[in-house]
């Protein structure tokens, strides 16, 4: 477990049940300032419920969450939005706002009732910086409904960056993306956190990415935090078995030597089964 001295988020013994199902059971974690933390686990393990609790979107039945030493339950939505930005899994295709409109909206917590683009000069700078960082200048006036999944996800991240918060929480930011788009998002997140000014919390199923780009990995199973370890010690068969209840194939990366997960072969070799062309 990490030290609490530098912690920006501190959750202690949080439990949450819904409709008779235990979604989180006595989960405790701390997130340190400037840290890159990955949360992994099987589908339905409680990862999204955990971050919904950290974001104040779900109220735990028991336990406590503190943000910068203050109870989350006593923090207003505006104060919370000035501290944590959230990137949901995927934006629905039906959203027809342009990229600029969508990114501008993330300045809500800073502008209050003032009209966007008129009084929020800092906001205009933040929006422009986020557009530049995510390389989406060409999408400014395009509707989200006409963008590809990768483009929409970059706009999604740009909006969170424009919120100018010290903490960024992302829920499976590369799910449903092709390898090229995944690589772009990985690079983008590595760039924005390289100065350690932003604390990054990411839910992902990409264990190879988690082990290579993050400082720490938390493994959740059935609502319990099974393991909280440094990334370089996470990729071990026994650890992965504990979290995923399945045997995963590990192999060293040819360049870095880090352990990588390879898919199990589930069919006979291509030489014997490939169709004739």
């Amino acid at each position: 477990m990490s030290s609490h001295s530098n912690s920006i988020i501190q959750a202690s013994g949080i439990s949450l049940s819904m409709g008779g199902t235990q979604l989180l059971a006595n989960a405790s974690l701390s997130v340190n300032m400037g840290e890159r933390l990955a949360i992994v686990g099987s589908n339905g393990a409680g990862k999204t419920t955990l971050i919904r609790c950290l974001l104040g979107l779900a109220d735990p039945d028991s336990g406590s969450i503190e943000l910068n030493g203050h109870p989350l339950s006593e923090t207003s939505r505006t104060e919370l939005a000035q501290q944590i930005a959230y990137v949901p899994q995927q934006l629905a295709e039906r959203i027809s706002f342009t990229a600029t409109e969508f990114i501008n909206m993330s300045r809500y917590a800073h502008t209050g009732g003032a009209s966007m683009n008129q009084f929020d000069h800092q906001g205009t700078e933040a929006v422009e910086e986020a557009i530049e960082q995510t390389n989406i200048s060409h999408l400014r006036h395009q509707s989200l409904s006409t963008m590809s999944g990768g483009e929409r996800q970059r706009v999604n991240i740009a909006a969170a960056l424009a919120q100018k918060t010290p903490i960024l929480i992302l829920d499976e930011p590369t799910a449903h993306l092709d390898p090229k788009q995944r690589g772009l998002i990985h690079k983008l997140l590595a760039n924005i956190t390289k100065n350690r000014e932003i604390t990054l919390v990411v839910i992902t199923h990409d264990l190879n990415w988690a082990s290579s780009d993050f400082d720490r990995i938390i493994g959740i199973r059935d609502g319990h935090i099974e393991i909280d370890a440094r990334a370089d010690t996470f990729m071990k068969k026994e650890v992965l078995m504990k979290v995923f209840d399945t045997e995963l194939l590990l192999h060293p990366h040819p360049d870095s030597g880090r352990a990588m997960i390879l898919p199990h072969s589930s069919c006979s070799s291509p030489s014997t089964s490939s169709p004739k062309s």
Partner: protein, 332 residues
């Protein structure tokens, strides 16, 4: 579409609405001379028709059209459903049930300037709002989809009660109920304008203040909350403010259909989904559209007026289909 282009569309809409205001009072079976403009108090038939019948009717159509269209914009954003309007949530059927009961029982009285029918309509609408919200809250399920389904169920329940009462009533009452259900502005007077204005104006003011929250709420509750919106408080406030505004409109004009559901979509096609532009656009479009429809409704035949609710659907349906299929990248 840039903000500059959207502003131009809005300016065009303002111009069109002004044109409607300036021209429609002059249109009717009875030609009126320009003199009436300078003698509003005169006893001449021309002046009475112009100032006491047509002008209040145009103002009433403007207010009702603006309110119904705005109600649709807000409910479609709050419930993230293109078919949501205050009508879908049972406000219209609640008001209609109140009026049906008043008409079948033949109650006649006036209370603080409101007739028994108006009062029954307002009470019916408030009852349906309270029922939808109360049931959702009591069950702990205030999600948009649950409230929408609850509203649809209550709407069907009230509609069936209306049909039952109509079936059991005499022919005269049944015809009056049917006529009221079609929506009608022929009862317009300065009194009805003064009754309706506070509902619509307060609704417009409240919704306009919350245009940024509506943008965020139209995406998802989680996005809105994570950006800093107090989701439950804002949803509750907008739900009651808009429901009451529409209840006021139905009380005075009857349930005029189509405007609330289609005008917001037409405006989204014309100006985009940003509520900073969509709210004024839908107010202007709804106001001018209902005014034009009502002008047509009172002039389409020389013998009798057609209820405006019929005209709104006959004119608006094909227009909406044309816009929907002719414009590329339509946000609808």
């Amino acid at each position: 579409m840039t903000d500059r282009a959207k502003s131009k569309v809005l300016v065009t809409m303002v111009g069109f609405t002004l044109l409607c205001i300036l021209t429609t009072p002059w249109l009717g079976q009875q030609l009126t001379s320009w003199d009436v403009l300078f003698s509003p108090k005169a006893d001449k038939v021309d002046a009475i028709i112009f100032w006491q019948i047509r002008v209040p009717r145009v103002v009433l159509a403007l207010l009702a059209g603006a309110g119904l269209s705005l109600g649709g914009v807000v409910f479609q954003a709050l419930f993230r459903n293109p078919l949501a309007t205050p009508f879908t949530l049972g406000v219209a059927s609640g008001a209609s049930l109140g009026v049906t009961i008043a008409m079948v029982t033949g109650i006649h009285f006036t209370l603080v300037g409101l007739s028994a029918t108006s009062l029954a309509s307002l009470l019916g609408a408030i009852l349906s709002i309270a029922l939808v919200y109360g049931v959702a809250r009591a069950s702990g399920k205030t999600s948009p989809s649950t409230m929408l389904l609850g509203g649809v169920a209550i709407s069907f329940f009230f509609s069936s009660l209306i049909l039952l009462l109509q079936y059991l009533s005499d022919a005269g009452s049944s015809f009056r109920i049917l006529h009221w259900l079609m929506g009608d502005l022929s009862r317009a007077s300065m009194d009805s304008v003064l009754q309706l204005a506070p509902f619509v104006i307060s609704g417009i003011v409240i919704v306009s203040i919350f245009h940024k929250e509506l943008n965020l709420l139209s995406i998802t509750d989680d996005i809105a909350a994570s950006r800093g919106v107090d989701v439950h408080r804002t949803q509750k406030l907008l739900f009651f403010a808009v429901s009451l505004m529409v209840a006021g409109i139905i009380t005075v004009c009857g349930p005029i259909g189509f405007v609330g559901i289609m005008a917001p979509h037409i405006c989204r096609i014309l100006i985009g989904a940003n509520h900073r532009f969509l709210i004024p656009a839908s107010i202007l479009f709804g106001a001018s559209f209902l005014t034009l429809c009502d002008t047509l409704a009172r002039n389409i035949t020389s013998t009798a007026e057609v209820p405006v609710g019929i005209v709104t659907a006959i004119l608006g349906g094909p227009f909406f289909l044309w816009l929907l299929f002719s414009k590329k990248n339509s946000p609808v």
